[in-house]
Symmetry: C2
Subunit: 352 residues, 2 copies
């Protein structure tokens, strides 16, 4: 079975949504996309797992990537799609099959773009990073994703969101000494010692650096706290899990150094970390894209695969239909007008 | 089968320890104690469940209770007993079969005490209060435990520990508003709000009131803390579980009022509460006992069934062999010398 890429972009979005493709179950949707792309003589198609790379090869001096993931978070009584005339509702409408439909329409319908294009439709973005299809492609065939610029069609309300903040998590641990709570002075209460950890967090003043003209907004937050042995025991350990969302003028080492100095005097253990991505709006390809798309450029606060492109040396932005705050919500939906607008804007940018 | 109450008190302790009697499994030990007590013509014996009350009825103007529980915490590779010549080792040696053996020796061996005695050997002290044998007796036959004074033979290092502190637990709850941690400023972090709760606890200055000449020592401690939704979500709730151990000059209502005012501005929910017991050392029966036993009287910090007697209007003290800090430990043991000393001291006090 093959998708009909000559269909209207909204019809195509509906068709994509109605093929259930929760992470690790992308075989069917990828088969159907692959069959459709292989009918396009102007594209060279490579499949790696359930990810696809489709490239024009016009010998243009410039190459851009247009990418989107085909998987979704788990079904939550929100399939099949429903079109109310203004919005398309259902799992994946916003995150991010509207964007994938736009990419597919361009791949099939713009055989001679004014710059070479590498289309990437990939698996496993919504689960543990080790499975991420874009990561796998970059590791196995880095040549396939080299480009001057990349557009990740994640929902951004059909505006350009540039760069992305990095994220890291640490455990801040306090220690004490157990005792029976009837004779508490014989022990040392580790939970009480966490008072200072929380006080510093409570008084934290977020950095809001301006980078390439965009104002980022950091965050340093306890996302978990845990302590206690039994209700009659003075606890000997408390752990505060802290998430630092850092602006892309810091690399991961600098971000961790900040967190360590912030919690000076406490035991800090890094549990995970992902770099941010500078907006890169000073680069010619990015400038040209922003000029073509129009509208205000906003900073991206959440972490996306834009950072992965950035780490590969490819400046990237988010640009796609849908409100990013609806991603992963049961009631996710996408404005039909935004899907159409994204297609038209990018079609024009590619000179079609 | 019946216990031999003519045996030496240490031999009797060993025999009691070697009858496994984890809470809810007291049938066998109670059967054997009952059979032995029923051979004593000077005692009137009543059985309620797996608890026994054995009373002299000499028409003395004074009546005292000598009580001990026959159950233990679960077996932890610490049975049968082992006698190294100085200590008797094993489950229940300290908490509290040494004390029970002393009580049994007195019950059988002092047929004409100088004051009437009510011996109580009861079940289910180590588990949920609803099962507590002393509680059941007091509810079903309050007449059986009325007395001028009570000695609970819990381990107290063979010294008198008077009164006991009360205990209550509350949950102190902070609330916030969820948001994605990449846009934390759109939410309110409930864990950060707990900083003030912990600060107050950390700066708490324990009250140490002197009551009937004994210095108590209160404690107000976080014994648990919990918060967090997911590692990328600003948490909307945090709960600090706080245990207040209060001196017996406060009743439960006063203790709770103190905790509520201490956490003024926060949501405080009472989860459990048990009253303390004043030492009552000004009462003639208590004075006489302390004089007979000799040595310094210490305050009891931990909660014991002394408080239950106190609530029944019977002043009570703890007095028994064994280091109370070894109770519930795998390696519990009791000094043989203390078992013997307790028996001799009490035998003398009863005029034998």
């Amino acid at each position: 079975m093959s998708l009909d890429l000559t269909a209207d972009v909204v019809t195509l979005t509906e068709a994509l949504v109605d093929i259930e493709s929760v992470s690790r179950n992308e075989q069917s949707i990828t088969d159907q996309i692959e069959a459709a792309l292989r009918q396009c003589g102007h594209l060279g198609v490579t499949r790696i797992g359930n990810s696809l790379v489709a490239r024009t090869d016009l010998g243009s001096g410039e190459r851009v990537v247009i990418a989107g993931h085909v998987d979704t978070v788990p079904v939550h009584d929100n399939l099949p799609s429903r079109n109310d005339g203004t919005f398309l509702h259902g799992l994946g409408t916003c995150d991010m099959k509207g964007g994938v439909a736009v990419g597919l329409k361009l791949a099939a319908g713009v055989p001679e773009p004014n710059r070479d294009v590498t289309y990437v439709f990939y698996e496993c973005e919504e689960i543990e990073e080790v499975h991420n299809g874009l990561r796998v492609i970059a590791e196995q065939r880095p040549d396939l994703v080299q480009a001057d610029f990349a557009i990740l069609m994640e929902p951004s309300d059909a505006g350009v969101e540039a760069g992305c903040q990095g994220t890291l998590r640490v455990e801040v641990r306090t220690r004490g000494e157990r005792a029976h709570s009837a004779r508490s002075w014989k022990g040392v209460n580790a939970i009480h010692r966490a008072a200072e950890v929380l006080r510093r967090l409570d008084e934290y003043d977020a950095r809001r650096p301006v980078i390439d003209g965009l104002e980022y907004h950091e965050g340093l937050n306890a996302v978990g706290i845990n302590g206690g042995v039994a209700t009659n025991v003075i606890p000997d350990e408390a752990v505060v899990t802290v998430n630092y969302r850092f602006a892309p003028d810091l690399d991961q080492e600098e971000a961790l150094a900040f967190v360590r100095s912030f919690f000076d005097g406490f035991e800090v253990t890094l549990t995970d970390s992902a770099p941010g991505a500078r907006p890169g709006l000073d680069l010619p390809a990015a400038k040209a894209f922003v000029a073509a798309v129009g509208g205000a450029v906003k900073p991206k606060f959440g972490w996306t695969d834009v950072a992965r492109f950035s780490a590969l040396g490819v400046p990237a932005v988010n640009y796609g239909p849908g409100d990013p705050s609806l991603a992963h919500k049961q009631e996710e939906h996408v404005p039909i007008e935004q899907i159409r607008r994204c297609e038209e804007t990018m079609r024009a940018w590619l000179g079609a």
